[in-house]
């Protein structure tokens, strides 16, 4: 088992995963904001 050589799924490196995680959260908050306003 060699952690370093393991291929990372979906992205090239872990940094891209972290950025994606943050962007996904921002997108969710944005969608929730629209959801709240649309139905209120």
């Amino acid at each position: 088992m060699n952690d370093e050589k393991d291929k990372i799924p979906f992205f090239k490196n872990w940094q891209q995963w972290y950025v994606f995680e943050i962007l996904f959260l921002i997108l969710l908050i944005g969608l929730f904001f629209l959801f709240t306003n649309y139905f209120s």
Binding site: D3, Y18, E21, L25
Partner: protein, 581 residues
């Protein structure tokens, strides 16, 4: 419950125990028992992390919370994805590199044995007590709603899972959590489907959302700002969710052995990281959907007769003193219910016909009626409080709906998922309590070398001992008042911040090397956090409990920095002034 419900309930629970026992075969050493020989795939890690965090309280309380306070509780999870990044990037590689069994082992490598023992002790205290509440919380609700004996319910809730947790360790915990979560998701999906299906003819899912939204239940995003000022005592808003939630999630996933123990079972750093990061992606939407079920139940009760109070036992208990008043309030509530049913239907029809003026008129009336209904409920709650009863019926709302309205068979399945959700988190807690006791205390302070087989046996007995401890705590827990999900989170907030602070110093403040400085800082800050909590409870201070997490963590960092510089200066003065190590 009908015979069909009982059959579904018994078969589901027996199936899980059998599956747990089937998956129990593991090597007879600590690696096998606590870490499943570090062999798990990320998918199993993900489900295990989710199953550990989502307890029965999550599925009982959250829909009730949406019913009473709206969906804004989801903001509490906004800090979680950010915490997942920090844990994946910094914590996981260090834990893996050092091949630790518990997170606290790392603190001995970094500082000293007493810092390790203190944090492990705080974990055992907090996790042991909160697991006891996790046994009691669903038991008291089920026993009240179904008339079951609370002691037997506690025993089944906290006892049956011990069979496979004790035998199979981390492996049995992970595999049963996987199956439990699948059953839970199926059950919750069916419940949500039934709520919409049982709405009056012509009222669909979108109509239900409009009704719920207009009555303030779809308030997913709130800022906590009122009249230009930020309300620090507001529990759930965007800022407390991101900042407070981040610290709480970071301490929970980075330093709580019940979670660390899950992702340490992964076969590599990659598998641990993927499990954590994907948890960060799915947790918020999952919580959103659970809360949405509560908002839909709220809409359902606009079209149907809603109980004035969802916990019948409390209502009966005040009947002796307030009988006439209760009857009077119930009658008024029923009349309001009928008016609401007509108004909400008229609103939905007007909205569908795009008759904005009529829709606006109906919704204004509906809000007024809702306000009057809330006032009646408040009146009733004040009588319950005066009679020293539990005036919070949040935890009873969803299950009361299940028992009163769902068809036979589905009731049994939903009662079963309460047990399963409970077992998933309790099993992981027992496994982690046992691992911390054995690895951080028994093995660390034992004078003799213990064989692998003996360590394995000791670990099994500690799992049983902690299981019994949690059941005993559950037996003695009575009427903790607030929403139970909050009670567990408040308890966590009292200790998590400090534990996290110690870990943050260990990871990010490399120049702090003095174990004494961190140890004293942790003690001082813990006392300060408890003092602040006492001020909040006695209403001398208005502060949401989530803020205790950043206070604890930042407090430990600052006090460590001060003590470290003082002790380093003293050490430089000469050997006579040195603290004993």
């Amino acid at each position: 419950m009908t015979p069909l419900d009982w059959t579904v309930l018994v078969l589901t629970l027996a199936g899980i125990i059998a599956y747990g026992l089937y998956k129990s075969r593991t090597t007879h050493n600590l690696d096998g028992y606590f870490l499943s020989n570090r062999s798990m795939h990320w998918g199993l890690i993900l489900l295990s992390i989710m199953g550990t965090q989502a307890s029965a309280i999550t599925f009982i309380s959250a829909p009730g919370q949406a019913y009473t306070d709206g969906m804004r509780f989801v903001q509490y999870y906004f800090g979680l994805p950010l915490a997942m990044i920090v844990v994946a990037a910094f914590f996981v590689p260090v834990f893996r590199k050092l091949k630790v069994y518990t997170a606290y082992e790392f603190l001995e490598t970094r500082f000293d044995v007493k810092t390790r023992a203190l944090t492990s002790f705080l974990f055992l205290l907090q996790r042991g007590l909160s697991t006891g509440i996790s046994v009691f919380a669903p038991s008291i609700i089920l026993s009240s709603l179904l008339g079951w004996n609370i002691y037997w319910t506690n025993l089944f809730m906290g006892g049956l899972l011990i069979i496979y947790t004790m035998t199979g360790g981390a492996k049995a915990v992970a595999y049963t959590q996987q199956l439990q979560l699948i059953i839970i998701f199926i059950g919750m999906f069916l419940a949500a489907y039934m709520v919409v299906h049982m709405l009056p003819q012509g009222i669909d899912f979108t109509d239900a959302l409009h009704v719920s939204g207009k009555l303030g239940k779809l308030n997913v995003i709130t800022t906590g700002v009122k009249e230009g000022k930020f309300n620090w005592s507001d529990q759930y808003n965007l800022f407390s969710g991101i900042i407070g939630g981040f610290f709480l999630a970071l301490s929970y996933f980075g330093t709580d052995q019940s979670q660390v123990g899950r992702y340490l079972t992964a076969s590599s750093v990659k598998e641990s990281r993927l499990g954590l990061l994907i948890n960060g992606l799915v947790k918020v939407p999952m919580q959103f959907l659970i809360l949405l079920v509560g908002a839909l139940v709220f809409t359902f009760y606009q079209f149907n007769k809603a109980p004035v109070f969802f916990n019948d036992i409390q209502l009966t208990s005040i009947n002796l003193v307030y009988k006439d008043s209760v009857n009077d309030v119930s009658r008024q509530y029923e009349t309001l219910n009928l008016l609401k049913q007509k108004t909400v239907y008229d609103y939905s029809v007007a909205r569908k016909q795009a008759n904005d003026a009529a829709a606006e008129k109906h919704i204004t009336s509906l809000r007024l009626l809702q306000h009057q209904a809330d006032s009646l409920r408040s009146k009733l709650k004040s009588w319950i409080t005066k009679s020293k009863g539990d005036s919070n019926d949040t935890n009873y709302i969803f299950l009361r709906f299940v028992v009163d309205y769902l068809p036979a068979g589905l009731v049994g399945l939903l009662i079963a998922i309460i047990f399963l959700a409970s077992w998933g988190s309790i099993a992981a807690a027992l496994n982690s309590l046992s691992s911390s006791t054995v690895v951080d205390f028994h093995r660390r302070f034992s004078r003799h070398k213990i064989s692998a087989e003996k360590e394995y046996n000791i670990s099994k007995w500690w799992t049983l001992a902690w299981g019994i401890f949690c059941i005993v705590i559950a037996m003695f827990t009575y009427n903790i008042g607030n929403s139970l999900i909050e009670a567990v989170n408040v308890l966590g907030s009292l200790f998590y911040g400090v534990i996290l602070g110690v870990f943050l110093v260990a990871f990010f403040f490399k120049r702090i090397k003095n174990g004494n400085a961190v140890f004293v800082a942790a003690l001082v800050t813990e006392v300060a956090v408890l003092a602040i909590f006492a001020l909040i409870k006695t209403e001398y201070l208005k502060l949401g409990f989530l803020w205790l997490n950043p206070i604890g963590a930042i407090g430990v960092i600052l006090v460590s920095l001060i003590f470290n510089s003082v002790l380093t200066k003293k050490n430089n003065c000469g050997p006579l002034l040195q603290f004993s190590q």
